[in-house]
């Protein structure tokens, strides 16, 4: 057994010496982070290809004969589930959470390194089980990523036979794996911070990941039980979610179950899930903006409290996904109110990001471009959310392309832009090399302008009333020819964005081998992960002695200081003023 000290320097570190010990069965949080990230990105690429196939069908119906109505629904389902759970959640918490938490709080590793390793391998198993869905008879699940019963397990829906079983099994595995990781993230933040690192001195990135992990530990169990119950309905003939049904002219044996119960369970997970993805992105983007604008994050304490309040409130808004689900309509009053209240702390975060830029010294490097791109898409996606949250306004818009446009802007594009920015930002620390600036900028412009060209028109198709999850619109009287043309244009934009991502991968892979050696702290950042003795940080992170923290993570452009940033582990002197934290 390897022994790794976490919070003190007394017990010597046990370093693995074999290749397998270092890179495969590794207990080093940084290696696990990279394993998580690469797996998530790999499966994310599958979802990206699926989205292109969907767009081809929507833009040019009757052209691609290999895309049948069944295939189309399977693409919709797998794309959605992979992107939300297996890419975004895994990458932001398993990837960035693993890499950043110990380095940012000054720990040598996660508190439970073995469990952390196990978390990754169970996640990998979940991904493999998910992918087997493509190869089982009948193909993967095709019930939409929401997997609503009864249709998810009934004839008439693709993948109702085997695909849904692999999907639900994979989700159960994912949640088991995530629970191991999530406990680690929470306990590490609470127990393994180095000397001087008070909670209110932690960078916003850690706050976002920390609160998101707590939320995930509370929200995923709802999906866990729902998955098990639906598996039982499918395999053992129970009727948790299944009432009396006549399917394709046949009376089925189910009796007395409630389809809406599943929707409540699903969205009790599903809505916090939006913030499980958003909060780490909020935290990370706060740090990107602060570092590259050479200015402390404006209103740090308010920012932290906003993260905590959003996390708490997000457990009281789930039924805004269900205004027209047939639940008691009077719930609409409560959930509309709670949903619009959550807009207040969210808006405060946006103001504070903008006020951080205001009177800053803005360096428009690639990570900052992505952060600014995020601000634009998030303002857009956040505001369109107010339409859908405002119960009666949701009635005409629900289940239309407006919803597709909204949630892609707010929880697809926005976190992805932050993830790109974060990869560019931390790449020099992770690999020790620098990427190519020109390729980075090309990647940004194609992605940023491209996604707006994709999603802005979708909102207007939604206003018109074009329904979502339609294999083909056919001849529908209220849909003019121009809407079909818009669909073609959206598809072309999607193809351009798809190809544009190639620039990113070329840049990252080329730079890994040929990129110039990176400075240990190329951006002049104050937070702890940039102050490691080695770049990339070695196993144990800090060499012989753990750092001591004397200040918050945002001492930028402090009047009287020699440089425009003061690292967190630099002892105080008399010249510079200090933030009260």
């Amino acid at each position: 057994m390897a022994t790794v000290t976490i919070a003190d320097d007394l017990i010597p570190l046990h370093h693995p010496h074999t290749f397998i010990g270092k890179y495969v069965w590794s207990q080093d949080h940084k290696v696990i982070a990279i394993q998580y990230s690469l797996t998530a990105i790999a499966i994310g690429l599958v979802a990206l290809v699926l989205s292109v196939l969907m767009r081809l069908q929507l833009g040019f119906p009757d052209t691609f004969h290999f895309i049948t109505p069944n295939n189309y629904l399977q693409f919709v389902t797998m794309h959605g589930m992979i992107m939300v759970v297996y890419l975004l959640t895994a990458l932001l918490l398993g990837g960035f959470g693993n890499y950043l938490i110990p380095l940012m709080v000054g720990a040598r590793d996660m508190v439970f390194p073995f469990v952390n390793m196990l978390s990754y391998w169970v996640y990998l198993l979940a991904v493999i089980v998910l992918v087997t869905g493509f190869f089982v008879p009948g193909g993967p699940a095709g019930a939409g990523w929401t997997l609503y019963p009864p249709q998810a397990i009934l004839e008439g829906t693709p993948g109702h036979h085997w695909g849904i079983i692999t999907m639900l099994t994979s989700l159960v595995l994912f949640i088991i794996g995530f629970t191991m990781g999530g406990l680690n993230y929470v306990v590490t933040v609470l127990q393994a911070r180095t000397r001087g690192m008070t909670l209110m001195r932690m960078p916003c990135s850690v706050w976002g990941i920390f609160v998101a992990s707590i939320m995930a530990l509370l929200a995923f169990p709802a999906l866990f039980v729902a998955s098990i119950m639906m598996l039982l309905d499918r395999i053992a003939g129970t009727s948790f979610f299944m009432p009396s049904i006549v399917s394709m002219g046949q009376q089925l044996g189910y009796h007395g179950g409630s389809p809406i119960l599943f929707q409540h369970l699903f969205w009790f997970f599903g809505h916090p899930e939006v913030y499980i993805v958003a909060l780490p992105a909020f935290g990370i983007v706060s740090d990107l903006i602060s570092v590259h604008a050479r200015k402390n994050i404006f209103g740090y304490r308010m920012m932290v409290w906003a993260i905590v309040i959003i996390g708490a409130l997000s457990f009281f808004v789930w039924a805004h996904h269900m205004y027209v689900s047939g639940m008691n309509p009077y719930f609409g009053f409560f959930f509309a109110t709670s949903t619009l209240i959550i807009a207040v702390p969210t808006a405060i975060k946006v103001y504070n990001w903008l006020l951080t830029l205001y009177r800053g010294d803005i360096h428009l490097r690639v990570p900052m471009l992505f952060a600014i791109g995020f601000l634009f898409t998030f303002i857009h996606g956040g505001l369109t959310g107010l339409f859908l949250g405002n119960v009666s306004v949701d009635v005409p818009l629900s289940d239309t392309m407006f919803v597709v446009g909204h949630f892609h802007m707010v929880m697809g594009v926005s976190p992805i832009l932050v993830i790109f920015g974060a990869i560019y930002h931390w790449y020099p620390k992770i690999t020790g090399r620098m990427w190519n600036e020109t390729l980075g900028k090309i990647h940004f412009w194609v992605t940023f302008l491209g996604v707006y060209a994709i999603y802005l028109p979708m909102h207007y198709l939604g206003f018109l009333g074009v329904p979502r999850r339609y294999y083909a619109l056919g001849d529908t009287a209220f849909i003019p020819q121009s809407a079909h043309s818009a669909n073609e244009a959206i598809t072309i934009a999607a193809l351009i964005v798809f190809v544009g991502q190639g620039v990113f991968f070329c840049n990252m892979i080329w730079s890994l081998f040929k990129g110039p050696k990176a400075d240990p702290n190329p951006w002049g950042a104050a937070s702890l992960e940039w102050q490691t003795p080695d770049t990339p940080p070695a196993h144990g992170n800090w060499g012989p002695k753990l750092p001591t923290v004397y200040r918050w993570a945002y001492d930028y452009s402090v009047p009287g200081a020699a440089r425009d940033f003061i690292p967190q582990n630099e002892p105080p002197d008399r010249t510079a003023r200090h933030h009260p934290t």
Binding site: S244, L357, I372, L456, F478, A483, D564
Partner: protein
């Protein structure tokens, strides 16, 4: 610099889209003007905030972009400013939420004089049921559904006997009469969706759902399914024909009721029963 210009341009493009794009709500053909009003209020408030925040950001990027010798201003927080922004945001939220909730109150309050019509969904077609002269829909249950009784009506319920059944045909409604649509599904979730009516609601097997509206324009409108219901989801269509009371009444008189359906089924069964011994006798 380019990013600031790009953001300002994207704001202009978005405004242009709002003003000139040919895609906006289909002309309304129901009473739900209050929903459209709440939507427009939300649009105005959100639109102004979108423009203001992004143009501010574009200006900030141009004004405070890095130039040699620049230093950032040091100001950790500004409690007064943050409080003011919170109050203004709260005001905007209330201004949107109030009309939204008022419209919702109207939506959940079904007028007493509303007539009842039932829409029944199954993969992948729509059927409709009117209560007949007694004005009451007879009891029905999915477990009663047989090929002879596709609506699953209770044959012992006298209220069901006069119910008028429209199997996979068009729905006709009289103009300017509020109608409560009772929704029932035999198999999976569906959603009764007519864009021109604005209102929509899911059909949920096992329970009965509803919404109400008043068609205000005559004409034929397409009914779509708005809740994913399997591979034929996109083809689950029907029409609703809104006409004046007189032509509605004459259409309704031409439809058959449950008793007639039962009688027809009985006759068919009798013919089958009679046919059997004759064929045996021929041997």
């Amino acid at each position: 610099m380019a990013i600031a210009i790009a953001i300002a341009l994207l704001v202009l493009v978005s405004i242009a889209f709002q003003l000139f794009a040919p895609w906006w709500q289909t002309p309304r053909a129901s009473n739900w003007g209050s929903i459209d009003d709440a939507l427009m209020i939300t649009m105005w408030i959100c639109g102004i905030v979108f423009i203001a925040l992004n143009l501010f950001m574009a200006w900030v990027i141009i004004r405070y972009r890095h130039k040699p010798g620049n230093t950032a201003h040091y100001e950790p927080e500004n409690a007064r400013l943050e409080k003011q922004l919170t109050v203004w945001t709260g005001t905007g939220i209330v201004a949107m939420l109030a009309p939204g909730l008022l419209a919702w109150h109207e939506f959940v309050t079904v007028p007493k004089e509303a007539t009842v019509v039932e829409a029944i969904g199954q993969q992948w077609q729509w059927s409709y049921r009117f209560p007949g002269p007694d004005g009451v829909l007879g009891t029905a249950s999915t477990s009663n559904v047989t090929p002879d009784n596709p609506f699953g009506l209770n044959p012992r319920d006298p209220y069901a006997r006069d119910d008028i059944l429209v199997e996979s045909g068009d729905l006709h409604l009289p103009v300017n009469r509020p109608v409560k649509l009772i929704l029932r599904s035999k198999d999976v979730l569906h959603d009764f969706y007519v864009p021109q009516f604005r209102a929509k609601m899911d059909l949920v097997p096992g329970i009965v759902t509803y919404f109400w509206m008043k068609p205000t324009n005559t004409g034929t409108f397409e009914v779509l399914c708005a809740e994913l219901c399997g591979m034929g989801h996109y083809m689950m269509r029907s029409n609703v024909v809104v006409a004046d009371q007189k032509s509605f009444d004459s259409w309704l008189a031409g439809q058959s009721n449950y008793s007639q359906l039962l009688a027809r089924a009985d006759a068919a069964n009798t013919r089958l029963a009679l046919a059997q011994p004759v064929s045996i006798g021929d041997k």
